[in-house]
């Protein structure tokens, strides 16, 4: 029977998925315990992998003798750095790390050798049976001693132990300071952090001896980069490798580069000729590190009387740890994101990324820009006080009008900061309450911004920045095939919403198959908040391509012009007529002759968003900046130095809230993580030995001490974002530490420039102020007498 003769059944109305509060499409598995994370995967006969680590912070490896270990019962493989072909690193131009140290060891806890055995006890015995001879070298645990002229070089090609020096000058900086009514310079320090994702690091590698093929399941945020580095370090064809990312228990940047244990697991599997499961302890997960570096910042800002920023001069020194990782990107971000939040008259930036004998730092939520933003907003707050300006008024004196090109050639196409300021000013009762709170309480505010994906990819392969495939088959079900790594941020859900919205279909018709290199298109990974923007756009384009095919099939069947087809999701009609088809009929028509449909959508950042031509210009460039303003209220106990956050009001310009509930969740998590950095989180080492490699000493806030975080979503509708959307998971973090520090200052009069603001640090400053007051009183009394 011809479709046109069918009576049109009552079909579901068009479904809108965008802008609705959607639970995660994989949420049922998470709340029921059915979700399989890497360590949960059933590989019943897997060997147990373990890593042997250096007890020396810096030294020449004379000998690693594995003979005794290999002879032990139950031991199937013992490997060293010699089992790898070449070093690795996430950035192609700075690959100086071996999965297991070779020739030189550069930090305590660096992997030296690894074993695979039939059970944990045999593996432990094998670890103990390996003998290691290391000749110590001088070791450097802070940036200054590593930079000393007589310091031994960690990497022979990096004089001064400087991984990267950045010198950027935009505009007339000296003229800007000369034109300023107030110039202030301050120094700041931010302690090193850890990501603290709750899932321990783990990998499972299967080596198929007969076929010489490798399958790796791992906790990665970047399956594609891992794939590349597995091929490179093992010296095997990338076509022989399959990388699968199961459920991942958080990332926050810890897993945005291929990590040593992943390549070690694979090499063990090859050496053992079987399957190896390697699970790191929490201490080892801390040692894997790659988090936000300890940073020393010197910052000078010039302002006019009305608060306009005439010039900025910033110097940042990052203690980078032993290997390159993302280091050069981190130091470049610190300079690049001095721009694009406010109009700034001129900017000078000097950045120094320093090698030290500590675990390597890397990317952490808010990559590179968090510590400099703490300094910048803190100094603005102090200068506002000096000028007698309200902190909100000072920010409003420096707003951008989009479209706007910054001094360093970043492109701002949408800018919701003015509305963010209005929202939190109102929500917090800023003007009504500030200065009128009871003793010990205070309000502080700050602003921030972040990229929606780095506009230039790490690898210049010439491919689109994002690819999504859709499959539609006889059953009427649509499968999204994506390489985007859902690490809890909800990308599987977001992509489902985007495809459902374009097709006006219920989300239940759509499934997601993600991150299996044998099935899904390559994706660069979940970093720099790129997935919603880039993969979202690719999914949007794929869905539109599929819709065109379906509309054309309907038009053929209904003998109408495609332009006349009105698409209503579960059905479509010839506009202005009773003639139509339901979705199943359209699918049947579309599959006639063609068979199963697979369509592709791609997306790349437009060239004008990819930054300038100067060295390092790629970092900071993005197709869309998010914006945040927030107010924090604190209560300070001046007898103990304890700071309690009572409330946060955050407004975040996410462009368009594709899933308001998920966006709120991302913003809340980001703000909360920023508060943790501000108040409690810091790593600590003694002679390179980590002292806080656990969750008791590395203090992550519990539910009992975490505040309510009210989120207002501002929709600036970005011209390039999918449905106008921008990032939501990072930009809210940067302004939390300075807003908190400003609130502490409002409460106590004490300006803290050293993070975290732990009770001992704050109390020391408060006590010094008391001592100074007593001395002043004594001097006054003496003078009077």
């Amino acid at each position: 029977m011809k479709a046109e003769h069918l009576p049109l059944r009552e079909a579901a109305p068009p479904t809108h998925s965008i802008g609705t509060r959607q639970p995660l499409v994989d949420g049922v598995e998470k709340v029921s315990g059915a979700a399989h994370y890497t360590a949960d995967l059933p590989f019943p006969n897997a060997l147990v992998g373990r890593i042997g680590r250096s007890t020396v912070a810096h030294g020449v490896i004379r000998r690693i003798d594995v003979t005794r270990a290999l002879a032990l019962p139950g031991v199937r493989a013992v490997i060293t750095g010699q089992d790898f072909a070449v070093p690795y690193g996430v950035i192609p131009i700075s690959q100086n790390e071996w999965p297991l140290a070779r020739d030189i060891v550069r930090y305590r806890g660096e992997p030296l050798f690894a074993v695979a055995a039939v059970d944990a006890a045999s593996a432990a015995a094998a670890l103990a049976a390996v003998s290691v001879d290391i000749e110590p070298l001088p070791a450097y645990f802070d940036a200054a001693s590593a930079r000393a002229s007589d310091a031994v070089l960690l990497h022979i090609d990096k004089p001064g132990n400087l991984e990267r020096t950045v010198e950027q000058d935009f505009g007339d900086v000296d003229g800007g300071f000369a034109a300023a009514d107030l110039v202030m310079e301050r120094s700041f320090h931010c302690a090193e952090l850890a990501h603290g994702q709750i899932e321990l690091n783990a990998s499972v590698a299967q080596w198929d001896v007969e076929r010489n093929q490798l399958t790796v399941h791992s906790v990665t945020q970047v399956p594609y980069y891992l794939h590349l580095m597995l091929a490179q370090t093992l010296g095997i064809d990338s076509a022989a490798i399959r990388v699968v990312k199961p459920f991942v228990g958080g990332g926050f940047g810890h897993r945005v580069e291929p990590l040593n244990f992943e390549m070690v697991t694979a090499a063990l599997a090859r050496a053992a000729g079987g399957t190896v499961r390697l699970e790191l302890t929490r201490e080892e997960t801390f040692l894997t590190h790659r988090a936000r570096p300890d940073s020393d910042i010197r910052l000078k800002i010039g302002l006019t009387k009305s608060g306009e920023i005439t010039a900025v001069d910033a110097e940042v020194v990052q203690r980078g740890g032993a290997y390159a990782g993302y280091g050069l990107v981190t130091i470049l971000y610190a300079g690049a994101l001095l721009h694009a939040l406010y109009r700034v008259g001129a900017v000078r930036f000097r950045g120094y990324r320093v090698y030290t004998n500590l675990p390597p730092c890397g990317a952490m939520r808010g990559h590179g820009a968090v510590n400099i933003r703490f300094a910048f907003e803190s100094l603005l707050d102090e200068m506002a006080g000096e000028l007698g300006l309200d902190p909100f008024a000072l920010r409003r004196a420096n707003l951008i009008a989009p479209p706007y090109r910054t001094l360093n050639e970043l492109q701002v196409n949408s800018y919701g900061l003015p509305k963010c300021l209005d929202a939190v000013e109102h929500a917090s009762g800023w003007h009504e309450r500030r200065g009128k709170l009871p003793k010990g309480r205070g309000l502080g505010m700050a602003c921030s911004h972040y990229v929606s994906g780095s506009a230039k990819p790490v690898h210049w392969s010439g491919e689109p920045h994002a690819v999504v495939n859709l499959k539609l088959d006889f059953d009427g079900g649509i499968t999204i095939l994506t390489g985007a790594a859902d690490i809890g941020q909800g990308s599987n859900t977001l992509l489902t919403q985007v495809v459902a919205e374009v097709l006006l279909l219920p989300m239940a018709r759509i499934r997601v198959v993600a991150t299996d290199s044998a099935l899904t298109p390559k994706d660069n990974g979940s970093y720099s908040s790129r997935v919603s923007f880039m993969v979202g756009n690719a999914a949007l384009n794929a869905a539109q391509a599929l819709k065109r095919i379906l509309v054309e099939a309907a038009a053929r069947e209904l003998k109408a012009d495609a332009a006349a087809i009105e698409w209503l999701g579960e059905r479509c009609v010839v506009a202005g007529s009773e003639r139509g088809m339901d979705f199943a009929q359209v699918v049947r028509a579309a599959l006639t002759d063609a068979g199963t449909l697979t369509v592709k959508g791609t997306w790349s950042t437009p060239p004008e968003t990819q930054g300038g031509k100067f060295r390092g210009a790629a970092v900071g460039s993005t197709a869309g900046f998010s914006y945040t303003a927030q107010v924090v209220e604190v209560e300070v106990d001046e007898d103990t130095g304890a700071v309690r956050v009572l409330h946060c009001w955050t407004a975040h310009d996410c462009g368009r809230a594709l899933n308001p509930m998920a966006v709120e969740g991302q913003v809340q998590g980001a703000v909360w993580m920023g508060l943790g950095q501000a108040l409690a989180e810091e790593t600590q080492y003694h002679q390179g030995l980590p002292l806080r490699a656990n969750f008791l000493d590395y203090r992550i806030a519990t539910a009992a001490e975490s505040p309510p975080i009210d989120v207002t979503l501002i929709e600036s509708i970005d011209p390039l974002g999918p449905f106008g959307a921008k990032e939501a998971s990072e930009g809210g973090l940067h302004s939390a530490p300075p807003a908190l520090a400003a609130a502490v200052c409002d409460a106590t009069g004490v300006r803290m420039r050293d993070l975290p603001i732990t009770p001992d640090r704050l109390l020391e400053v408060i006590n010094e102020r008391r001592r100074e007051a007593r001395r002043a009183a004594a001097r006054a009394a003496t003078a009077k007498a």
Binding site: P23, L24, D26, G27, V28, E29, K30, V31, S32, G33, A34, A35, H36, Y37, A39, D40, P42, A121, H195, G196, Q197, I198, E199, L200, F247, V248, G249, G250, F252, T281, R282, E283, I487, G488, Q489, G490, M661, A662, E664, G665, Q668, G669, V671, W672, M673, N694, F695, L696, I700, T702, A703, A704, E705, S706, P708, I709
Partner: protein, 156 residues
Amino acid sequence: MTTRLLRLQVNGREQALAARDAATLLEVLRDGLQLTGTKQGCDGGECGACTVLVDGAPRLACITLAASVEDRAIETIESLATQGRLSALQRAFHEHLGAQCGFCTPGMVMAAESLLRREPQPSEAQIRAALSGNLCRCTGYVKIVESVQAAVETAR
């Protein structure tokens, strides 16, 4: 290393299995019974991801000797759904985004389950106190607290 026969009451079923003398409850649940919903997130008693109920009270399975809880009622996250249907508490976590990455979720849900059995109408402060042994790195706890409150509302 010696092994022994363990008799455990897990999720309403009697389980007998051989385990090392020193085996933790977490090892037995995950490796012996394949109940991998209970997670390990630390090196012992730091994060709460392994929270299960023993006679209704929250316990950290990673620092509980399996042999010490023989013949006591052990409940894991896998016990809450009924014939595949989520419990009201699980549904609340799902619908209110109490889980982002989901790794702390089983422990968090079990801690909340224990609270709601003791105190069906908890205050926000009681909820926060009851969950303070369970670390979450994704949510800032905002939507976790809201999820528990939503479950309370549903039960009302």
